[in-house]
């Protein structure tokens, strides 16, 4: 269980290109931070580095007292641009697989399906869903998985105003339960959040 996130003097490089250095950030349970900055500043790379998918050039990323490898394996969820859903499989098959893979209980899955109003979409193949519907499927996976630290990359973009508000409620619930959220955004989050700007 991740209780805190501490990033100290982080420097990242991606594809031979230097992104930023000297980045510091601490996040405690119940806190949310919105990472902003122009395109190409390294917002996604920051999230990937926290998830362990990009090795830092310098600096450290810690998860409180937890061992980083164990914390990443069971404590965080990365919601990226790509959702990993297979177009030819039904929404139900994909959601069932991923929630079981994440270690979610069947009850949590049912609650998430109800919250995100997915029950009528479940029988459809993923390729027949709209971008917003697919994102709701990913959000159901996020909500059901028992993971403390949410890493969200542009989570709002395919959602309409109503679902943005609902997603805000979902985030607020997660924070109230002791969760942590680090989100890369262009539009402001629908809940009050600390901001961290990465300069170009």
């Amino acid at each position: 269980m991740i209780q805190a996130l501490a990033i100290t003097e982080l420097a990242l490089r991606r594809g031979g290109r230097h992104l930023f250095d000297g980045l510091n950030l601490t996040l405690a349970a119940g806190e949310v931070c919105a990472v902003t900055g122009p395109n190409g500043a390294g917002k996604t790379s920051l999230l990937r580095a926290v998830a362990g998918l990009l090795a830092p050039e310098a600096g450290t990323i810690g998860f409180g007292a937890a061992d980083p490898a164990a914390a990443r394996a069971s404590g965080l969820h990365f919601l990226g641009h790509q959702d990993g859903l297979k177009p030819a499989r039904t929404a139900a098959e994909e959601l069932t697989f991923w929630t079981r893979w994440d270690g979610a209980s069947p009850g949590a899955l049912e609650t998430a399906v109800a919250d995100l109003e997915l029950s009528r979409l479940l029988a459809l193949e993923v390729r027949r869903l709209s971008a917003g519907q697919r994102r709701r499927l990913s959000l159901a996976r996020l909500a059901a998985a028992p993971r403390a630290l949410w890493l969200l990359d542009e989570p709002l973009s395919p959602l309409d105003a109503r679902w943005r508000a609902r997603f805000g409620e979902m985030m607020a619930r997660h924070l109230a339960g002791g969760g942590l959220i680090l989100a890369a955004v262009h539009d402001p989050l629908p809940i009050p959040a600390r901001e961290l700007e990465i300069p170009a």
Binding site: G84, K86, W101, G103
Partner: protein, 221 residues
């Protein structure tokens, strides 16, 4: 463990459906086996001489062709990241993917192999041994082939590159399987060939996932 089973079921289902799955693999296999007599000539005695070898090589090629999308699709659509961020070690994930591949395409190919060999003129008494060799060889092909598929992630012309990487690694199983069949057909002891094939398959199952996991991590980070 239940998590591994859930993944195995998904992988087998995906491999089964991946672009036609076993149907395409067996179709390709049948196509190559059909080209052989067209290139070599229809005389039964000439065909019978190469029937076993031709069936065995065609099997290796068909296994190779199925590897193309083993990791590539998960890499492109983000599923690989989801599989990495889990308590299940990536080595096990890679092994399960290859196992699913083997169940969905290796096993159907093993059923097709004796048919192709007999159609080319092999002795029908060989059918059980051909099936067994194709089954064990398919395991070796899937696990060594997975290394090539994982290494060529993110490369230009990944499919062709996979073939160039994997074909030299297919040399021992092709030799051992072909040798066992050849020995059996010639009335010689064939067990050593099958045992060597099994040993290579076992080594590939044990060591291949380590290389695959390293290659996947490298491609993602």
């Amino acid at each position: 463990m239940s998590r591994a089973l859930v993944l195995l079921r998904r992988e087998a289902a995906l491999a089964w459906g991946r672009g036609g799955g076993p149907l395409i693999a067996v179709g390709f296999y049948a196509g190559v086996a059909t080209l052989m007599p067209l290139a070599i000539g229809p005389e039964p005695e000439r065909l019978a001489a190469i029937a076993l070898g031709a069936a065995w090589v065609a099997l290796a090629l068909a296994s190779l062709l199925c590897l193309d999308r083993l990791f590539e699709r998960d890499y492109e659509d983000g599923a690989l990241e989801g599989l990495v961020l889990s308590e299940t070690p990536l080595e096990l994930v890679c092994a399960i993917k290859c196992l699913g591949q083997w169940l969905a395409t290796g096993a159907p190919l093993a059923v097709a192999a004796p048919v192709a060999a007999i159609a080319l003129g092999a002795d029908p008494a060989l059918a059980p041994l051909i099936f067994l060799c194709a089954l064990v060889g398919g395991l070796a092909f899937a696990f060594t082939g997975g290394i090539g598929a994982a290494l060529s992630l993110g490369a230009r012309r990944g499919g062709l590159l996979t073939a160039v990487i994997v074909l030299p690694l297919f040399v021992p199983p092709v030799i051992f399987g072909g040798g066992a069949l050849d020995a059996f057909a010639g009335g010689l002891p064939w067990q050593s060939g099958l045992a060597l094939l099994g040993a290579y398959a076992a080594a590939a199952v044990a060591l291949g996932p380590v290389a695959m996991a390293g290659a996947c991590r490298n491609a993602l980070t």
